[in-house]
């Protein structure tokens, strides 16, 4: 859903000031040291005395009714301490909640975690076992007898939308059409957003181009497989250590799914080995808790890579149509798009978010966007960096490239001519505030990359992207030690490494002390007020809002202590450069007191200096980026080599520039992998054929050039330091940019993702039939 700040949400307005720390390199990155020495602890690295190993039995079928489950033989295996199935979990009614950038429905969440009436995809859990060893657990899994009635399945989005397609949910009637249909459908929802008069817009155009595009699902591909360890104590307390992007949301979901009081559950987010949106959903956690309750032992569960691919993530596979009209002089008059997005086994894809991003980089008066959320026999989709946006950007930016050529403009000038600016009306509602899109285009145009010469079979492509910055509930606590050093407990998860350092820098800037004196860690769910998922690029953006508030709280308290020492009013004390000082000479002639001085004496003068924040952060401040890529196409094999890549993006304010570059580069490389090679491949039977890194090919070092990055800074007016979310935009443009580059290298346009060698070669062959056809 589009982030709409509520009337009670907080924003601290941007204030221009001289910065000492924000915008530099921190003196150290403590998390990185623990990572290079192997000391950082990820979820799978936790062990508890007496722990059991939990394993999941998964459906081998794409779609089947579960007639019966017989666990007797499994329970009899020596060393097996608990077996659970659907009977061990309460059924849930329809109830929607936000989980990251996607919406969830508890009725579905419980069914996804453990199948009830039916299994909906290859890899869907049907039972789980806890045993003293992995081998005993595996042995038990083999002995569980599940009787299935195999049903016809549907994998592909277009096929799933047909009226005669096998239906996943008999009780799903398309929402958003009037009147509500009487026949169930795999189309869960139809959404529409409109601006102006689309027909009139196309009438004004001199050139209209309409194209269809298809993309395959891709996986987040984090290197750390999901892992959880749960301990249900005899006293009824539940402790969970897990790989998550949002332990507070996980606690809420565990509580709901297992009907437990939240106060009895403590979830600790372990160091996270990558998530990119894929660790926004519970999978193992409720199973581990119930296995632990049943066995009265701690239970550890770690997914195999095969399970990660078959049962977590991926993104939607999509089918989209894009139609855009322009005048002879290059002004876009109308844009229309249809987005058909797979949600997997249960409704709730990224289509609502994607629909908002379709044309929101351009100033277009007449827009019509229609989206469909479509269920099919694949794992329920999860968010993946700017969920849904890369697929539709592929369509829109490809058509824009054709139009630019059609009206004889270069791709950047064409985009500049139509670029959204402050005040541009979006097609989904609000007018845009101050944004840096034009600046990214201008920097791209002036970049030396544009002057690099291209050889035969080489081409250059350009594309752009847009994404929001999410605010939402964010809490933080800051405690000043008696020596003046500072601990900050944050409630978001440092999903990128470096997030802790960025927050430490903001706190150090506020307090006027060196960054090394500030230590930031993630607190468990008992330590703080609620925190929403670390998603929507909000980690540093929203996290720093809470830490700024907490810092200012602490400063207030420090000033109070100084006032007591000097026996003046608190209002007569100001905080400058890490010291309390008299507000004016009238107050008196006092030596400034440092935070350390004050902290030492605070105990007897009102108590520890501390600050805290429990905010519903109002955000906004969307980010925009422009990418340029050069490729070379091998006409004999269809292989595409990426020669050069440049990315320009508005960060609002780069707190920790190296860390932002890292996000830019990492996101772009994920986008390149998505564009060129990554895809889910299904067999006729509806089973996943490539559930491993051997055949699901993510880029290695030699696949990618060095990514050049350029940071543009147009401050976000709703943030005290002007910060925008930056993590997601970089993944949006690559598919489109690469496809455009391939066109300029070969004259062939690809509209079918991935742009893999077989597809490129086939397209080249079609354009110039090869000898094989003779």
């Amino acid at each position: 859903m589009a982030p709409k700040p509520g009337s009670f949400s907080t924003s601290i307005p941007y204030e221009e000031k001289k910065l000492k720390i924000v915008g530099t390199e921190p003196a150290d990155r403590p998390d990185a040291v623990d990572k290079v020495t192997g000391r950082a602890r990820y979820a799978a690295d936790y062990n508890l005395p007496g722990q059991l190993i939990g394993k999941v039995l998964r459906s081998p079928h794409a779609h089947a009714r579960v007639l019966s489950i017989d666990t007797a033989a499994a329970e009899a295996v020596p060393g097996v301490k608990a077996v659970v199935t659907r009977d061990d979990f309460p059924d849930m009614a329809v109830e929607h909640a936000a989980s990251g950038e996607l919406m969830i429905n508890f009725k579905d969440v419980t069914r996804n975690m453990m199948a009830r009436e039916k299994v909906f995809y290859d890899g869907h859990p049907v039972a789980a076992v806890a045993a003293v060893s992995e081998s005993a657990a595996k042995k038990a899994l083999k002995l569980i007898k599940v009787e299935y009635e195999v049903l016809p399945h549907v994998i592909d989005v277009e096929a799933a939308m047909q009226s005669d397609a096998p239906i996943l949910h008999e009780d799903q009637f398309t929402k958003g059409v009037d009147p509500t249909p009487e026949k169930p459908s795999n189309i869960a929802t139809r959404i529409e957003s409109k601006l102006g008069d689309i027909e009139a817009g196309f009438d004004q155009a001199d050139l209209v181009i309409e194209r269809e595009f298809r993309t395959k699902p891709v996986h987040q591909g984090y290197i750390e497989p999901q892992a959880s360890i749960a301990n249900y104590t005899d006293g009824g307390q539940v402790e969970v250590w897990t790989s998550t992007q949002g332990h507070f949301v996980f606690r809420a979901q565990i509580a709901k799914l297992l009907q437990l009081d939240m106060s009895k559950i403590t979830v600790t987010a372990a160091e996270l080995g990558g998530g990119f949106g894929g660790k926004n959903n519970v999978y193992l956690e409720p199973l581990a808790v119930v296995l632990s309750r049943k066995s009265r032992r701690p239970v550890k569960m770690v997914m195999t890579r095969d399970e990660v691919f078959r049962a977590t993530g991926p993104t939607s596979g999509t089918h989209t149509k894009v139609k855009i009209g322009v005048t002879k002089d290059g002004r876009i008059t109308a844009g229309q798009a249809e987005l058909n997005y797979q949600s997997g086994a249960f409704a709730g894809s990224s289509v609502p978010m994607a629909a908002i991003t379709v044309f929101t980089r351009y100033d277009i008066e007449n827009v019509l966007v229609v989206g469909h959320d479509v269920t099919c026999n694949r794992p329920k989709v999860a968010a993946y960096r700017a969920p849904g946006a890369p697929m539709i950007a592929f369509g829109v930016e490809s058509v824009l490239d054709e139009l630019a050529e059609g009206v004889g403009m270069d791709p950047v000038s064409f985009r500049l001519k139509n670029a959204a600016r402050e005040g541009t009306q979006t097609h989904y509602g609000p007018k845009l505030g101050p944004i840096g899109f034009v600046e990214t285009l201008e920097s791209a145009q002036a970049h030396p990359h544009m002057q690099e010469k291209l050889g035969p079979n080489q081409g250059r492509g350009v594309a752009t992207g847009f994404w929001f910055t999410l605010g939402k509930e964010t809490s933080a606590t800051l405690n000043v030690g008696e020596d003046g050093t500072v601990n900050v407990i944050m409630g978001t998860v440092d999903v990128t490494g470096g997030g802790r350092s960025a927050l430490a820098m903001v706190v150090a800037e506020e307090l006027g002390i060196p960054t090394e004196k500030v230590r930031v860690k993630s607190g468990d769910t008992t330590a703080l007020g609620f925190n929403f998922m670390t998603a929507g690029s909000r980690g540093t953006a929203a996290g720093s809002m809470a830490t700024v508030k907490a810092s200012r709280d602490a400063i207030q308290k420090a000033c109070e202590v100084a006032a007591r020492i000097w026996e003046v009013e608190t209002e007569e004390v100001v905080w400058e450069d890490g010291h309390a000082r008299p507000a004016s000479t009238n107050v008196g002639d006092f030596e400034p007191l440092s935070l350390a001085d004050l902290a030492r004496r605070a105990g007897a003068l009102g108590g520890t200096i501390a600050g805290h924040a429990e905010l519903d952060v109002a955000m906004g401040g969307p980010g925009f980026g422009t990418h340029i890529v050069d490729v070379e196409v091998d006409r004999q094999t269809g292989a595409v080599k990426v020669l050069r890549y440049t990315l320009v993006q508005d960060a609002g304010k780069a707190v920790y520039p190296k860390f932002i570059e890292g996000q830019f580069q990492g996101g772009a490389v994920q986008g390149i992998g998505m564009a060129l090679n990554e895809e889910y491949i299904y067999s006729e039977k509806g089973t996943l054929e490539n559930p491993g890194f051997l055949d699901y090919r993510v880029p290695v070092a030699s696949d990618v050039p060095f990514i050049n990055t350029e940071i543009v800074e147009v401050p976000n007016p709703m943030h005290p330091y002007g910060i925008r979310g930056i993590g997601e935009v970089p993944i949006i443009p690559p598919i489109a940019a690469l496809s455009n580059a391939i066109y300029h290298a070969t004259g062939v346009r690809l509209r079918d993702h991935p742009l893999s060698p077989p597809k490129v070669l086939a397209a080249l062959d079609e354009a110039a039939p090869a000898i094989a056809a003779e």
Binding site: Q220, R305, P758
Partner: protein, 494 residues
Amino acid sequence: MTSVRFVFGGKVVALDGIDPNMTVLSWLRTKVNKIGTKEGCAEGDCGACTVVLGELTQESGRERIRYRAVNACILFVAALDGKQLIVVEDLRQADGALHPVQQAMVDLHGSQCGFCTPGFVMSLFAMYRSEGQPDRARVNDVIAGNLCRCTGYRPIVDAAMAAYDGGRADQFSRRERQTVELLKSIARTETETLALEGAGRRYFAPVTEDALADLVKAHPEATLVAGGTDVGIWVTKHHQDLETVIHVGGVRDMDFVREVDGSMEIGAATTYTDAVHAIAGQYPDFGELIRRIGSVQIRNAGTIGGNVANGSPIGDSMPGLIALGATLVLRLGKQKRVLPLDQFYPGYRQTALKPGEYLSAIRVPLSQPGRHFHTYKISKRFDQDISAVCGAYCLDIAGGQVTRARVAYGGMAATPARAPQCEGALTGLAWTEDAVPVAMRALAQDFAPMDDMRATARYRLAVAQNLLQRLYLDIEGGAPTVLAPEASGQGMGA
């Protein structure tokens, strides 16, 4: 000998009764609580589990230690016997300072989420200990077996190069003499076959080929393991239970590359890493192809012998070996026989090995004037990927005419196979551009490839044919033939 002995943390560790199917990764993580080494896939694909093995070698008459990165997830603990195991927790210097490789990773932001980091650190550490300042292409090669999903690799490559700034001494070089002594103290003599029993399974690791021959003959049902890069996956991924294992990898007199009667003979226990140099010396293109098999970690463990014996239709060394007319030395007890490789595969994943027989060595004819050899691997990614198609061509060209042609492909049929129609069409043809379409058309008669998830039949055939165009250009241009991804876009912009 009934215990596995290796050097770990500066001491000799001796393990008795260890399950021969246990991997080094699971031993580290579950038996000795060394959790720094990560599991990302358990299939040799991601490199998160990378550890480094130190082995005794002779270097200009001196005893030295050679350091190599391997995947702990598919390496059996028993294979550590006689070696030094180094894991990420071992790298910190005695004074607590980070190892130069670790420090560079911190300083240059080579770690974001950090889950891949221990693996990268170990790959870079092995490089740091083994060779001088690398360039970017070399670093790409060294880390081709390590996946990072966060950084986009640039900061890691920067760190790899910057690690050398302060010279190359570390506590491993300083302690080398002591470690050499420890390793010597656990080296087995020729008669000491390691014989393990644990968890109801048996494991034999002979030191000499004669001992091996006897063992294989006595246990025809046993699974032979050379580097274990195929076999390891059977256990970790396919959950096979290997009752009896005989380790070929440690047989010292099968680890060689030597010249015999106009042929290069490669022992079946020789790793890719050890064989590549000699092979590249004869056939540069073959050397390049081997540099693209798996990753450094895979090539440090895997053998050409294992590749040939495994008999996968997409094994990358076989098309080249077949095109070159390689023969195999097979041994059963004391009996040896020699079989041309193109007669070794009766069917899909079948070999001509008899019960109790094994592959002893591979013989490859030496290069000769007028003979042109090229081989190409086509896969989605340049590095560390499975072939969709692998083609190999050995043409004798005299007076502008093809006098002899051997053409072989992998990925086009149930076994690696020759292309007789194509060979026939080429033989006697004038070697001009016009020969190419003739050969391409003939090739279409040779194979009816399959559709699978790695490529369609149509793509396979089209590429197999197009490779003949590349062959022509390469022979005419005399150019190196591998499309190495060069360092482009470097130093530009930001």
